[in-house]
């Protein structure tokens, strides 16, 4: 059994390579789960880092890793049969809205935590899901075949879908609904927007939601050590991202001054988010 205590070594049961830099590692183990939760993955002698659970069933789960730095490059190079230490799950996960009209806005690797949420939303009936999915270019669009929901795609370089940002598509969607609602009173407004991606993108999505009074949930990323709310490495204003989050709703986001402004480096030094981002993903 995998628990939130010391890591349990598990074998990579399957590996799906998405592109040069993305791979999904599957494990045939049971783990408690709510969409949006994460685990700490340990490669002995290398490091331990948080990863969202990107697929889940009662018998297996997976994480999807983008090769960026020392740990993640080692992780995507693991093969079927290799072992990795897992502890978790940690965090609060998404609160699944009981309302019907949902938008999910994913940027790059941010698709990973949102994917099991989309799975869960698709499994419940009477829902209309709008999935807006963006990436640097075509190759970086995760899980192209995974969902039955129609995706509105955009890429920074225009190699697939709209050339531009997910926020433009979200605004279009909201405005189109507003206009249609004015004409036939039949087109419902969005009830909830879920988002994950670069923080600057999530901040923009949140601002759009605020302007249109739509509740929003975002999944944040910070440097983590313990994963369970003790060490303080991941603080964002007065919240600990690993335990109070990583998912935060509109109410909390309004109070979090550090959201889209400040994050702590490994040393604990608070720095502007762009400095943190360049440290994380040079």
């Amino acid at each position: 059994m995998i628990t939130d205590l010391r890591p349990v070594m598990v074998t990579v049961a399957d590996k799906e390579v998405h592109s040069d830099s993305f791979a999904t590692l599957f494990f045939d183990f049971a783990i408690d789960f709510k969409p949006g939760q994460f685990i700490m993955a340990w490669i002995p002698g290398v490091d331990e880092k948080p990863y969202t659970i990107s697929h889940h069933s009662p018998q297996r789960f997976a994480i999807t890793v983008e090769a960026k730095g020392r740990f993640s490059k080692k992780a995507v190079a693991l093969e079927k049969g290799d072992k990795i230490g897992i502890r978790g799950p940690f965090g609060n996960g998404f609160t699944i809205s009981d309302k019907p009209n949902i938008a999910v806005v994913a940027g790059g690797c941010g698709m990973a935590p949102l994917a099991p949420l989309v799975d869960a939303l698709e499994a419940s009936r009477n829902r209309e899901i709008i999935l807006i999915h963006g990436a640097r270019s075509k190759e970086f669009l995760l899980y192209p075949e995974r969902f039955s929901t129609h995706r509105r795609i955009c890429t920074d370089d225009g190699t697939q879908g709209h050339r531009g940002f997910v926020t433009e598509l979200l605004e279009q969607e909201i405005l189109a609904r507003d206009i249609l609602a004015g004409e036939d009173n039949d087109t419902p407004a969005l009830d909830m927007v879920y988002t994950c991606g670069p923080e600057i993108m999530m901040a923009k999505v949140f601002a759009i939601c605020e302007a249109h009074s739509i509740p929003c949930q975002v999944s944040l990323e910070r440097y983590m050590r313990c994963g369970f709310g003790v060490c303080g490495a991941c603080v964002c204003s007065d919240r600990v991202v690993c335990k109070d989050g990583p998912v935060f709703g509109s109410q909390t986001l309004r109070e979090m001054e550090d959201f889209n402004t400040t994050a702590l480096l490994k040393s604990g030094k608070p720095v502007p988010l762009n400095e943190y981002a360049s440290w994380r993903c040079q």
Binding site: D4, L5, R6, P7, M9, M40, W42, P44, G45, D47, E48, K49, K83, G85, R87, M224, R225, C226, G227, F228, G229, V230, C231, G232, A233, V235, S237, D238, R239, V240, E257, D258, L264, L265, K266, S267, G268, K269, P270
Partner: protein
């Protein structure tokens, strides 16, 4: 349960242990708002330091093992934090560390200009090769650090001790003689080690780590008991305190204030409010007060 500590009124006798949550003003304030009388900042060091790589903190169920490794922005790189803390309406305990007496003095002098209510000297961290514990296991070295810092600052100084000292009472006595205003006991115990038998590797990246939480409570109680006998300055007792009854126990050993760190893992940030209530309930049920039970276990015939 208002109390007074070295001339500063505290709204409760509970202290947040250094290194737990205390990474920015907002979270210190939230801990305070949840019933902590004295939040302690994460230990501040002489130069920027990343600490160790992960795994650094593992929950063993009955407590934790950690080798975070004293990460710090360095005392000269904390302007934002100090600016924010300037307008606080809660007391703070600033924990500092150094690799030599000179470094301790350098950091203490600077930190004192920021006017925390107290300065705590971490002479007891097991998770670094050069810092901390080397002082805390040696009475002369402890005396030197404390007396040098006392000469340099005009803020009450608390010496934080390690249970790894062969005679912790002797260290406490040396600190008192050097002018320490209070003792904080204990830092993490051990160090210990956990090995993953599948990979045949120690789990912590630093291999060894300090133990905390319920499994070290009886060590903490013994240390506070020994120190109480040796000194007359007040003691902050911590190490495994998780419930009101744990707090009563360490107060009976001689603690004036009670610290909690690992309890946050098991009972959340609201641990402080919960423990305050449990202490109050216990005192009421036994028709007594904290002052009456402090050091009670030392009475003749007990």
């Amino acid at each position: 349960m208002q109390t007074n500590f070295l001339g500063t009124p505290l709204k409760t006798p509970l202290v947040l242990a250094s290194g737990v949550l205390g990474n920015n003003k907002a979270i210190l304030e939230r801990v305070w708002a949840n019933g902590c009388g004295l939040p302690t900042m994460k230990s501040i060091g002489p130069a920027p330091r990343d600490g160790h790589s992960n795994p650094t903190v593992i929950d063993l169920g009955e407590g934790m093992i950690n080798a975070v490794g004293l990460p710090t922005p360095g005392y000269l790189n904390m302007e934002t934090e100090w600016l924010e803390l300037e307008n606080r309406d809660f007391p703070v305990n600033a924990s500092i560390y150094g690799g030599s007496v000179e470094e301790f003095v350098m950091v203490a002098e600077f930190v004192a200009t920021k006017r925390p209510e107290f300065i705590e000297l971490n002479i007891s961290c097991p998770n670094s090769d050069k810092h901390g514990m080397l002082f805390g296991v040696n009475a002369d070295a402890s005396y030197d650090v404390v007396s040098a810092v006392k000469k340099a600052v005009d803020i009450p100084v608390i010496a934080k001790l390690t249970p790894a000292a062969p005679d912790i009472a002797a260290i406490a006595k040396a600190c008192e003689e050097a002018g320490a205003d209070a003792i904080c006991a204990i830092n993490t115990a051990g160090p210990g080690m956990i090995i993953d038998i599948e990979s045949q590797m120690p789990v912590l990246d630093f291999k060894k780590g300090g133990l905390s939480g319920p499994m070290i409570k009886s060590i903490a109680v013994r240390c506070v008991y020994d120190i109480y006998k040796a000194v007359s300055i007040p003691i902050i007792g911590l190490g495994g305190i998780t419930t009101g009854k744990d707090a009563i126990e360490i107060i009976m050993a001689g603690a004036s204030l009670v610290g909690m760190g690992t309890a946050v893992r098991y009972r959340g940030i609201t641990a402080f409010n919960k423990v305050n209530k449990e202490i109050d309930d216990w005192l009421a049920a036994h028709n007594t007060t904290m002052d009456e039970i402090r050091g009670a276990a030392h009475r003749e015939g007990k």
